[in-house]
C-alpha cells in the first residue's frame, strides 16, 4: 500500500505546515458515511476544512487537477455534516486544498525535495 503511506505522509506534512502557520488543528481523518475530511483546523475566525492531495510526481497531472468539481461538491456536504456533529464549534467555514509533492525512491519520476502548495477558499 505505497499510495496509502504516501497519503499519510502527505497529511503529516500538511499538518506540520498548517501548525507552523498558526492554524489550530481540531481534527484529522474525520469519517462518516459520506466520506472523510483530511484535516479540520481553525485559522482565526475561520473554520478550515482541508483536502490534502499527495503525489510523488506530476506524471499523471498536478495534484490540484485531481480535485474535480464533483469531489468539491462532496467536500461541501461533509463540512455541513461535520458542523452538525460539532454544534459547539463556531466560525466561518472555508475549504482549502493542499498539494504536496513528496520524494519517493520507488518512483523514477518522483521529485527530489518536498513541495507544498496551499490554495485558500477554493469553493466559489
Amino acid at each position: 500500500m505505497r499510495n496509502r503511506q504516501l497519503g499519510v505522509r502527505g497529511e503529516d506534512e500538511a499538518v506540520g505546515y498548517l501548525s507552523a502557520r498558526g492554524y489550530l488543528i481540531l481534527e484529522r481523518n474525520w469519517r462518516c458515511t459520506q466520506g472523510e475530511l483530511d484535516v479540520v483546523a481553525r485559522d482565526g475566525d475561520d473554520l478550515v476544512f482541508v483536502e490534502v492531495k499527495a503525489r510523488s510526481s506530476v506524471k499523471y497531472g498536478h495534484p490540484f487537477e485531481a480535485v474535480t468539481p464533483r469531489k468539491l461538491a462532496r467536500l461541501r456536504i461533509l463540512t455541513v455534516l461535520w458542523r452538525a456533529a460539532h454544534p459547539d464549534v463556531t466560525g466561518t467555514a472555508r475549504i482549502d486544498v493542499i498539494s504536496i509533492l513528496l520524494p519517493n525512491h520507488n518512483d523514477a519520476d518522483a521529485v527530489a525535495s518536498p513541495h507544498i502548495e496551499h490554495l485558500r477558499g477554493v469553493f466559489q
Partner: protein
C-alpha cells in the same frame, strides 16, 4: 496573477475581423473557461491546446484559467483559434514574453502531439490580416505556401506549437518534428501532385456543330446558356468542355478562386493558383443553403460561390427545387450573394457562367421534328419546362436545342473542332471585347455603356430586336442581353461592330426554343 495575449482573425464569410485572445491565470483549482461566443469547434480547442502544450514539454497552468476571445459579441467558429489560444496561455505563464502588440497574427489548428495541422481559410485570413495592418502571420507549415500567395506580409510557417512559441520570443529549444501535411500531397514531387487532370476535349463530340458554335459564342462573351435535348444527346459532354475553351483566369481572379477554395477545402488539400476556371456540377437534390451558402454557425459558401469565375452547370435543371433555382437570380444579376443572419451578414462573390441542361419533357423524347415517340401529355410537357421560372430564363442569353446526333461515324466531310482551336478563337475574340469595354466581358457590360452614344448600333441594324421589344416578345433586359450576344458574335467573326446578321442570330440564339 498574469495575463497573456495573442492576436488572430475570425472570418465572416470571406471578411476577416481582428480577434484578441486573452488568457488570464488566477489562483484556484485548475479549471478552464472559454468566453466569447465560441462554437463547438472553438470550445474543443481547450482540450487540444492542453494536450498539445503538455506534449510539447511546456508548462500548462495548473490553476484557474480564463480565456477570452474578443470582440465578445462576434460569433467565432472553426479550429484556427487553437494556436492563438496556446500562445496566449504560454504568455500568461511567462514562457512567451508578453510583448506589446507586435503586429503578429496566429492562425492554425493543433494536433494533440503539439504539431500544427493544415487549416481551412488560411488565405482569406491572411488577406484580412494584411488589411488589418498586421505585419506578420504565423501559420501551419502545410499552409505556408498558400499564405505566401498574399504579398506585403511576412509569412512564418511553423511545424509545432514549440516552434511558434520560439518565433514569438520564447527562450526554448525547438525540437525538429516532421510537419503535418495535407493528406493527398506526396513529399518530394510537388509538381506532379499539383498538376490538374487534363480537361475533356471538344473533339470527342460528333455531329453537334451548331451546339458547339453556340458553346463557343457563350465562352466568348461569358453568356449563360440553356440546352434542351433528349437524353443522350450530349448536353453533359458539351457543358463539361466549356471550362477548357474559356480564357485562363487572370492572376487576380485566380486569387479570388483560391481564396474560396481555401475556405471550403483548405484543410483537405493544398491550395494553388489555378488558371483553369472552376466547374461545379451539383446534383439536383441540392438545397438552397447548399446553393447560396449556409449551415450551422458561420455561413459557409455554397456551390454558387465555389463556381465563382467559372461555370455552374445544372444538369436536369427542372429537377432542382424551384426556390433553389430562383435563389440564383441575385448572383446572376450582381455577381454577389448577400446573406443576412440575426447576428451578422456575409457577402460572397458569386460571378459565374450558368449552364442549364434539361430534357424537353418528362419522358425526354419530345422534339420538333420527330414527336411520335413522346408519351407525355401536352400538360405534362408544359409543366415540365415551366418549372424554370420566367425571371430566371430571362437571364439566360442562349437557348439551345441539342438534337440527337444522327451519325456516330466521322468521315472526311465532318468538321472536327478541337478544344485548342476553339480556345484560340475564344481568346482572340475575348481579347477584343476586353479592350473595348475596359476589362469586362460582353455579358457583364452595363446596359448604359452598351446603349450609350459611343457603342449605340444604328437603327437599321437593331430593327429586328426593336420590333421584338415593341411586340413584347422580349423584355428590356432581354433586349440588352441580345445586344451583348450580338457583340460576342461580331467579336468572333472579327468585325468591329455587330451587323444586322449578328443581331438576327443573337435574337435567334436567345429565342431558339421556347417559341
Amino acid at each position: 496573477m498574469s495575463l497573456g495575449r495573442a492576436r488572430s482573425v475570425a472570418l465572416l464569410g470571406l471578411t476577416g475581423i481582428a480577434v484578441d485572445v486573452e488568457a488570464d491565470v488566477t489562483t484556484g483549482l485548475p479549471a478552464i473557461r472559454l468566453v466569447g461566443l465560441a462554437d463547438r469547434a472553438v470550445n474543443e480547442a481547450i482540450d487540444r491546446v492542453r494536450s498539445a502544450v503538455a506534449n510539447s514539454q511546456l508548462a500548462f497552468p495548473a490553476q484557474r484559467l480564463t480565456i477570452s476571445l474578443s470582440p465578445a459579441a462576434l460569433p467565432k467558429s472553426g479550429s484556427a483559434f487553437d494556436l492563438p489560444i496556446a500562445i496566449a496561455c504560454l504568455a500568461a505563464t511567462g514562457v512567451v514574453p508578453s510583448a506589446p502588440d507586435d503586429g503578429t497574427i496566429f492562425i492554425g489548428e493543433l494536433a494533440l502531439d503539439g504539431r500544427l495541422r493544415p487549416t481551412a481559410g488560411i488565405l482569406p485570413s491572411v488577406l484580412a490580416a494584411r488589411q488589418l495592418g498586421a505585419t506578420r502571420v504565423v501559420v501551419p507549415s502545410a499552409n505556408a505556401h498558400e499564405a505566401r500567395l498574399v504579398s506585403g506580409i511576412t509569412v512564418k510557417g511553423v511545424a509545432s506549437v514549440r516552434e511558434a512559441a520560439q518565433v514569438s520570443g520564447a527562450d526554448i529549444d525547438v525540437v525538429d518534428v516532421a510537419p503535418l501535411r495535407h493528406p493527398r500531397e506526396r513529399t518530394g514531387d510537388d509538381e506532379s501532385s499539383s498538376a490538374a487532370p487534363p480537361l475533356p476535349d471538344l473533339a470527342d463530340i460528333i455531329g453537334l456543330d451548331a451546339a458547339i458554335d453556340a458553346l463557343i459564342v457563350a465562352a466568348v462573351g461569358g453568356h449563360n446558356i440553356f440546352m434542351v435535348g433528349p437524353p443522350g444527346a450530349g448536353k453533359t459532354m458539351l457543358a463539361s468542355r466549356l471550362p477548357g475553351i474559356l480564357p485562363p483566369l487572370t492572376e487576380e481572379h485566380a486569387l479570388e478562386v483560391a481564396t474560396i477554395a481555401s475556405l471550403v477545402e483548405g484543410s483537405r488539400r493544398e491550395v494553388h493558383l489555378a488558371t483553369t476556371p472552376p466547374f461545379q456540377a451539383p446534383h439536383h437534390s441540392l438545397s438552397a443553403a447548399g446553393m447560396v451558402g449556409g449551415g450551422p454557425g458561420i455561413v459557409r459558401p455554397g456551390v454558387a460561390t465555389q463556381a465563382h469565375r467559372g461555370v455552374l452547370f445544372l444538369d436536369e435543371a427542372p429537377e432542382f427545387a424551384t426556390n433553389v433555382l430562383d435563389s440564383l437570380r441575385q448572383p446572376l444579376e450582381s455577381g454577389m450573394l448577400s446573406l443576412q443572419r440575426a447576428a451578422y451578414s456575409v457577402s460572397f462573390p458569386s460571378d459565374f457562367q450558368l449552364v442549364l441542361a434539361a430534357n424537353p419533357c418528362p419522358c425526354g423524347q419530345a422534339s420538333a421534328t420527330n414527336d411520335v415517340t413522346c408519351t407525355c401529355t401536352p400538360v405534362q410537357r408544359l409543366r415540365y419546362l415551366s418549372r424554370l421560372s420566367g425571371p430566371l430564363m430571362d437571364r439566360v442569353d442562349i437557348h439551345l436545342t441539342v438534337p440527337r446526333a444522327t451519325t456516330a461515324i466521322r468521315d472526311e466531310l465532318t468538321t472536327v473542332t478541337t478544344t485548342a482551336e476553339a480556345r484560340d478563337r475564344v481568346l482572340t475574340a475575348r481579347h477584343v471585347a476586353l479592350a473595348r469595354w475596359g476589362g469586362t466581358c460582353n455579358a457583364r457590360v452595363p446596359g448604359t455603356q452598351l446603349r450609350g452614344a459611343r457603342y449605340k448600333l444604328p437603327r437599321p441594324v437593331t430593327s429586328s430586336i426593336d420590333s421584338a421589344l415593341h411586340r413584347g416578345g422580349i423584355t428590356l433586359r432581354g433586349y440588352d442581353r441580345a445586344l451583348r450576344l450580338a457583340w460576342s458574335l461580331a467579336d468572333l467573326d472579327g468585325t468591329t461592330t455587330p451587323t444586322t446578321d449578328h443581331v438576327g442570330r443573337a435574337l435567334y440564339l436567345r429565342k431558339g426554343i421556347l417559341q
